[in-house]
């Protein structure tokens, strides 16, 4: 349910965040931002800076 919620609001599937995709830090950041806004991160640290 949380996974579907994240995909619908960010367009990013949690299942695509495997090692071959994690270089795309903008996508990671969007997922982290969504999870943070939902208060679901145990560690409320900042999202990684997107790579240019």
């Amino acid at each position: 349910m949380v996974s579907a919620r994240v995909i619908l609001r960010t367009g990013v599937s949690l299942t695509t965040l495997d090692p071959k995709h994690v270089h795309d830090s903008q996508r990671v950041a969007r997922v982290i931002d969504a999870l943070r806004e939902m208060g679901l991160l145990l560690n409320q640290g900042t999202a990684p800076e997107p790579r240019s």
């Binding site: 349910m1 995909i7 367009g11 599937s13 903008q26």
Partner: protein
Amino acid sequence: MGKDIRSAHTAATDSSAAADALVAQLAGEAPVAIVFFAAHQHDGALISGRLKQAFPDATVVGCSTAGELTQNVSTTGTVSLLALGASKVRRAAGALARFDTSVERGIQEATASLSRALDVNLRRAAPDRFVGVALVEGLRMSEEAANAALGNVAPLLSFVGGSAGDNLEFRVTRVYCNGEASDHGAALLLLDAAVPFVIGKTCSFEPQSAAFKVTRADVPARVVYELAGRPVLEVYAEAVGKKPHDIGSDVFMTHPLGLMIDGAAWIRSPQQVLPDGGLKFYCQLDEGTEVHVMRSTDLVGETHAELARVRAALGGKLSGGLAFNCILRRLELDDKKLHGAFLEAFHGLEMGGFHTYGESWLGHINQTLTGLWFA
């Protein structure tokens, strides 16, 4: 003796007469919650207030529509409702979320009110006991923000519902709660269920193409400009086997885009081709989203299958519920003269619902039937 789940419907065109007819049909009931759906010509605030007056212990929410539903009728220009009694719902609370300042603030204030009314922390509430209904104004493109705000407040709870309509006039849509009305907000209902329930979501589409990534979009405007790095219309037309200049609403109806999650399609329906080459949708598509061009299947058959799945999920005990059916599905039913066959899926149930300007569950979706179904 009440049935504790009961639909009602009236074709009375005068709102006061309609309210009287609905109250009369609920004689003997003691509803905890009433969800009503009124054609846009009706004074929904009056109907809401009269239902509240007749059933002061009930929480009454509703909205304007693009058509009204019960298990017996699928029509326009009327009023339908579903009343839920204590054997289905222990307690209920309603609130009008006003979006005048911001959608997020409106949702925060309304959900705080729901939380106080039922003395429950929405972050900790059991998702198999508490469930919400969200009826969102349907013309101001607030649904994504509303669903995101609901997700922030209650990430593990479901709020299911649809966007208010005005039967394709596209002038104003309204939501109602206990006699109040808003044309820029959402009516929220929180239920403390006394019986098992399930959320239903179904659509009649399957992927026709491989997935394309959205590579350029104006997300707030719900416009896509590029798929897979190419002009969206070129890619879309190729996928449906047409020339770009042949693309129009008839093609959109049968070939929306679909975001596939665990094998299930979450539909994003095109609305129109823009002069700047963009494709405007009825919901947002973020850049990076992977979508398939879909093809339509069997709307009636899929609806029957959905109700069979719902019944099985409730261990065979399905008494009825709320149905939120997309206006585009209604138009398909109109075109193919299939309303009767569609309604047969709800035979023997007590169902109240409406034809929507979009469906809500976890996010904002299109060309879908969402529902809240009770054992």
